[in-house]
Point group: C3
């Protein structure tokens, strides 16, 4: 019996795997980025972490720099994980490879820019809004196309 | 060589893809829902966002309405992402299509109701608890079935 | 036409599915663990939840025990979801099955230990750091290998 995956275009598929792996690596980098800010600002979430610096240091949960990185991290989870899922399902709807490849690229590049302007250099708006939409619009487009494909 | 995906039932598989795409769209809608509450309550997380309204407006991280939508959003990540993974793996355990399709439906409908009663209209308990369990129970069932299938 | 999934090693694949299902079950258990702490400390996030105990009980968002479990839960999302994605994509890079199986094991066992030392018994550092790295290092390794495979 043929599997539903036999129709996947190899080029679109490779682009999906490559950019997804890049985005996984990008998400993983948020952990050391948070740790750097925690040590720099001596703002640890747990007493057992704060005591690495000093037994007297109390946990601090409202440090501005740490919370900014954590918001960028959470925003990644909210937007990149849906992409991982819908990017894969969209591949199965037999899209034009050129379109699919560029949608994946747009999401990946936008999400890397999003982290840079949110948590690394802090650029004024609308920089972060544009980076956000650069990933949100292709992801929403893929979700709609996938829904429509299965309603047909 | 046969791939492990050759045995997937096409109807169960289509139901998985369709409901997953619907849930991706649902998760993506949490972003504009949060933005609406942020503008309505003038409660922005970052100074560069608050300054869109006024240079004097300070970030506000404890707005009741905004935080409610954010908790609903986080609850989605905690529950819908595990479903995306286990729904797919469960498909590979050769389940009865009728059962699989209805489990997927139960999760998707429950999670849509969860958002409605949590972040849109705010219905008294046990509305949210029941919507939560309507997705949690099928997801946990699929996880157990998948573990048991591979222990056999 | 051959699908890109035909090359997957069945043993490595089974290990991925098994450990992923275990980790899904582990993530799902964070919800009752949070609920236990919420009831124990009477710390509910929403007025409609607090009123189950008493109409006078106000929401409490900074309970130490509840927030610890929630941080462990969020840390799961930040680290286990990337593993679900990259573990699957790594399988497609034709890795040595023995290596792949042990990487999956390392991630799963480390993340279970992470929850135990973070949110169940609270062990001093470096226990949590080591458990974190026990999953982070294999996940980052798989991400790098997958990126390199597609750059070749």
């Amino acid at each position: 019996m043929a599997s539903p995956f036999d129709a996947i275009n190899p080029d679109a598929y490779s682009a999906y795997v490559f950019w997804s792996a890049v985005l996984v690596a990008k998400i993983l980098l948020m952990a050391p980025l948070t740790a750097i800010q925690r040590f720099k600002n001596k703002a640890f979430a747990n007493p057992e972490d704060a005591s690495i610096i000093s037994k007297k240091l109390k946990p601090k949960l409202d440090d501005i720099d740490v919370e900014r990185v954590r918001r960028a991290h959470l925003n990644d989870l909210e937007n990149i994980f849906p992409f991982f899922v819908i990017g894969f399902l969209y591949l199965l709807t037999n899209p034009a490879p050129f379109l699919a490849i560029n949608l994946f690229r747009a999401v990946a590049v936008s999400r890397i820019l999003h982290t840079l302007v949110y948590a690394v250099v802090v650029v004024p708006q609308p920089a972060r809004f544009l980076a956000f939409m650069g990933a949100m619009v292709p992801t929403a487009y893929m979700a709609l196309q996938t829904i429509l494909y299965f309603l047909r």
